[in-house]
């Protein structure tokens, strides 16, 4: 009985294009919902989570010495063969890298170098804006790697930013804690 009624209801619905009207109502509702996109270079910028795998950086120990012991394990495990390490021995008899180069043009940001390192010297940080016009500029040396920003501490938010093309192409931002981007996602 109720099934027959259901079927009649469905047919009446079809007669008045109920499903089409539902679809139209849904898209109309979405039209006035907040967009989830960020105005990336001009106004906003995404802060990565601590787990984010961005540009590599080399760490220093408490004395300011470079932590890397030039064991070349990262170079061995790297699937893209993009790390080149040449060791030297300093006056205290410690091994350090004389040359430490990462070809980020080839790197696939798998993070295996970070996992392999016995000295906890290399890690993948938060920086993700390092595009360049020449692949040669993407080969990063030891001293540049030491200066790169480390892992994000907060993150997962959107902060106000500004595109600065004066000196270099740069997305500037001052805040460290943004609004939660997920709050704009409408789930229906």
């Amino acid at each position: 009985m109720s099934r027959a009624k259901d079927r009649v209801g469905t047919w009446i619905g079809w007669g008045f294009f109920a499903d089409l009207a539902n679809g139209l109502a849904l898209t109309f509702g979405y039209m006035f919902s907040r967009p989830v996109t960020m105005q990336y270079p001009d106004q906003e910028k995404w802060l990565p989570y601590p787990r984010y795998r961005g540009h590599h950086f080399l760490k220093r120990d408490e004395e300011g010495e470079i932590k890397c012991v030039a064991c070349e394990l990262c170079a061995r495990i790297c699937p893209c063969d993009c790390i080149e390490v040449i060791p030297y021995e300093d006056d205290k008899g410690k091994r350090h890298p004389a040359k430490f180069e990462i070809d980020t043009a080839r790197c696939l940001f798998c993070g295996l170098c970070e996992d392999a390192c016995p000295a906890d010297a290399i890690a993948l940080g938060q920086q993700y804006e390092f595009s360049s016009f020449s692949s040669r500029d993407l080969v990063i040396g030891r001293d540049d790697l030491l200066a790169k920003p480390g892992k994000a501490t907060t993150g997962g938010g959107v902060v106000a930013a500004r595109l600065n093309t004066k000196k270099d192409v740069l997305v500037e931002t001052k805040e460290t804690q943004g609004y939660n981007w997920w709050r704009n996602i409408r789930r229906t």
């Binding site: 898209t27 006035f32 001009d42």
Partner: protein, 329 residues
Amino acid sequence: MELAVALGLIVFKVAFLIAILLLLPLPLTWLERKVAGHMQQRMGPMRVGWHGLLQPVADGIKLLTKEDHIPAEADRFLFKLAPILALAPPFLVFVAIPFGESISVLGTEITLYVSNMNVALLFVFAVIGIEVYGVIFGGWAANSKYAVLGSLRTCAQMISYEIPMGFAVIGVVMLAQSMSLLDIVRAQADVWNVVYQPVGFFVFFVAGLAEAQRIPFDLAEAEGDLGAGFHTEYSGIRFAFFMVSEYAIVLLVSVLVVILFFGGWNGVLVPLPPLLWFVLKVAFFVYLFIWFRFTFPRYRYDQLMAIGWKVLLPLSMANIIITGVLLGA
């Protein structure tokens, strides 16, 4: 002197119309992309001008400066003819379209139409039929699989949709006892035709969607399965011609729906200037077109034909008969 003034007026009106029709696609593309963006929780164009308002201008400059490419195996004559054939008829049709009664400027009454033909409706349908040749030639001349498939679909679609479209307006003509669009609007001064002719409106609007080749009936340029359909091989300014033609037809169908079924420039409740009423109604239907585009999926080819022949055609015929019987009684 009289003749010169009249002639000058006509030339001015035609120039004005052409300018408007050529410029309107700019805001329309912007609107379409904005609406699409917001319906998909994006923002649409944002970077050129305030909220991307100058984006269509940038696109236009891009299209103008692009290489005008003609495929090596193409039929060069037809290939060049097709965009013009697609563009000219929608413009031509607007000659017969009234936008209002008249306004007085400096003491002289200026009518808001170029010509008041007594067979305007027939003229509209006859001329708009030519537009299909542009699409068919374009697809055929390009000598590409996608383009030919697109234009074949257009052929079949046009044949099956012009007939119910033509039948749908017969009810309106019966009510107004005239084929002149001006008389049709005047006959709706009290009650809009959509009240008497809901079925006619439905058939006309659906067939109009198919005529304008918009989703859910955009089989001719189905991006998903045909690349870009009949204009796959076109580039640069010739492609722009097809785009302008598409928007002109969207506009035309909206204008026709308003004139035939929604009382033209006759307002309800709120006393606004007639021209404003007209523009508002047309804008609503243009928005409806865009809204449909980003809501509905595309019909399959056989479904499209089935709707045309098995639903719309019988509906429009029944509409004529019932209207005739009710008018006679």
